[in-house]
Amino acid sequence: MHHFLLYIDPGSGSYLVQVIIAAILGALFYFKNIWWKIRAFFFRPKKEDPEGEDSVNG
């Protein structure tokens, strides 16, 4: 059912680079999350995490 309209060239290596970037971002967000949990444990949370954090949990 999915027939993709590949009318633009994704570019050689562009899928690969997205896989790598996503993996790095995933790891970063993972550690960032842990860091926020540690912080929350020791300090009373003043304010919610800045923007962009929603994507980490979603």
């Binding site: 993709f4 309209l5 899928y15 997205q18």
Partner: protein
């Protein structure tokens, strides 16, 4: 069969094309795109985006106007009168267009769709805000697949923004040379060393440059991607772009022009009174303000309910005006960067894909206030040549003549020989009267500058 002309830029996408017929611009949807179009409409994506003012609304017509065998449907989008291109936008405009694109990707994913391309040419500034105009850019979303338009997004949004951010200089001329966006190799060589300290630059520029050399593609990647990964990627791009400094200040030649001028306040008030007098008697519904600077007079024209295209060669002036338009929700001023002596040319395939400036932007009136001396003395364009130029673009003209004895002109002539014996009010009038009738003429008191209201002879 109805007569129609296919738009010369509309040849890439098999999903459909844009055509003009009877003065209206339509978009044909081909059979090829039927299921995607149905998904766009039935998933609620179209409604969601139109409601937020992010996608141009259209009317669906069940008429095969082109009589083409591939026809599925015909759309009549809300007309966007003035088409502008990324090489006429300031940093802030390109940034807002980039954020709109990412925002749309996110909304699309929620509705089982994705953008299959990400080019600034799919966005127009309409009623003061960026809006997505390519209704056929949405494809069905397969979570296993990375974003097909990622590279295009980087080349045409992220890289130019990075360049301007790090180099602190205008990059519009570069954009008009690279119609498909700035190649990764090019930007990787231009960015300064300190940019390597940024994770975003490191990932999206240098890593991508390395990967672009690799021939490994596709299959393995497909199995390792997911919706969450794509959302992470989109969030990361959004974060980078949002965190570019909101107001980018570097001093430019013109951005403090009015503040620096000693005679400014009084002069501006006098000039405004005369311009308002001219505005009160014109029937013009639209005006092209050339050399608009910070848009002082663009706002005067806008107050007379004219559609204003405000242009200046200085990107900082345009940026300032754009911020103001945005902040105050001004819907009838479109700020654009334009160097009159070197306007945006026609570019792309057959030089017809993206039209030259004046082919896209036509107005009832043109305003050239405190401009002519820069063109004659600054750029060596003769008065007869200028009169001819204005006659081609302006049925009606409000123009200011700044004579040689004026302080500004004296400054311009201070370090160069005066090779302009013909630069006088008499020659100016004689040249322009070849094409125009002078409908009004008034001295700006306290100065030697003269304001003219002219009407082209054929315009009656």
């Amino acid at each position: 069969m109805v007569n129609y002309t296919r738009h010369p830029s509309s040849f890439k996408d098999p999903a459909g094309f844009v055509f003009e017929s009877g003065g209206k611009v339509y978009r044909q949807v081909n059979q090829y795109y039927a299921s995607q179009y149905q998904q766009l409409m039935s998933s609620g994506l179209y409604d969601a985006l139109v409601k937020k003012g992010q996608l141009i609304p259209h009317q669906q017509l069940h008429q095969n106007l082109t009589q083409s065998p591939e026809w599925y449907s015909t759309l009549l989008p809300e007309p966007v009168e003035y088409i502008s291109y990324p090489y006429e936008w300031c940093f802030e405009q390109l940034r807002d267009a980039a954020l709109l694109t990412l925002n749309i990707v996110r909304t699309a994913i929620q509705h089982g769709m994705i953008l299959k391309d990400a080019t600034p040419f799919n966005i127009q500034f309409y009623k003061g805000k960026p809006v997505f105009i390519d209704t056929l850019s949405f494809d069905l979303y397969n979570p296993k697949q990375p974003w097909i338009a990622y590279r295009q997004f980087c080349q045409s949004f992220l890289f130019p923004l990075y360049l301007e951010h790090y180099l602190k200089t205008d990059i519009q001329k570069i954009l008009s040379s690279y119609i498909d966006g700035v190649p990764v190799d090019f930007i990787a060589r231009l960015l300064p060393l300190k940019s390597r300290l940024s994770l975003g630059v490191w990932l999206h520029v240098y890593l991508q440059q390395t990967a672009a050399g690799s021939q490994k593609q596709g299959k393995a990647a497909e199995t390792r991607f997911s919706r969450k990964k794509l959302l992470d990627l989109v969030s990361h791009l959004t974060n980078i772009i949002q965190h570019f400094p909101a107001e980018r200040i570097y001093n430019s030649t013109w951005s403090n022009y009015y503040e620096d001028s000693i005679l400014s306040q009084e002069y501006l008030r006098e000039k405004e009174t005369i311009v308002r007098k001219f505005c009160a008697v014109t029937n013009a519904k639209s005006v092209l303000d050339l050399g608009a600077n910070d848009g002082h007079f663009s706002k005067v024209f806008a107050a007379y309910n004219m559609q204003v295209v405000a242009t200046d060669a200085d990107s900082r002036c345009i940026a300032r005006l754009y911020q103001e338009v945005k902040k105050n929700n001004i819907t009838n001023i479109l700020p654009l960067i334009l160097d009159i002596a070197n306007r945006s040319p026609a570019i792309g395939f057959n030089n017809r894909e993206r039209a030259a400036f004046h082919e896209r932007i036509q107005t009832n009136m043109v305003a050239a206030l405190a401009l002519i001396h820069h063109l004659v003395i600054g750029r060596n364009i003769s008065l007869p040549a200028l009169a001819e130029y204005f006659s081609q673009i302006a049925p009606e003209l409000i123009i200011e003549f700044v004579p040689k004895e004026d302080e500004k002109v004296q400054q311009m002539l201070a370090n160069r020989p005066d090779t302009f014996p013909d630069y006088t009010a008499t020659t100016f009038e004689a040249c322009f009267e070849q094409y125009f009738n002078i409908a009004g003429k008034q001295l700006i008191s306290g100065t030697s500058r003269m304001l003219y209201h002219m009407k082209r002879k054929d315009a009656a």
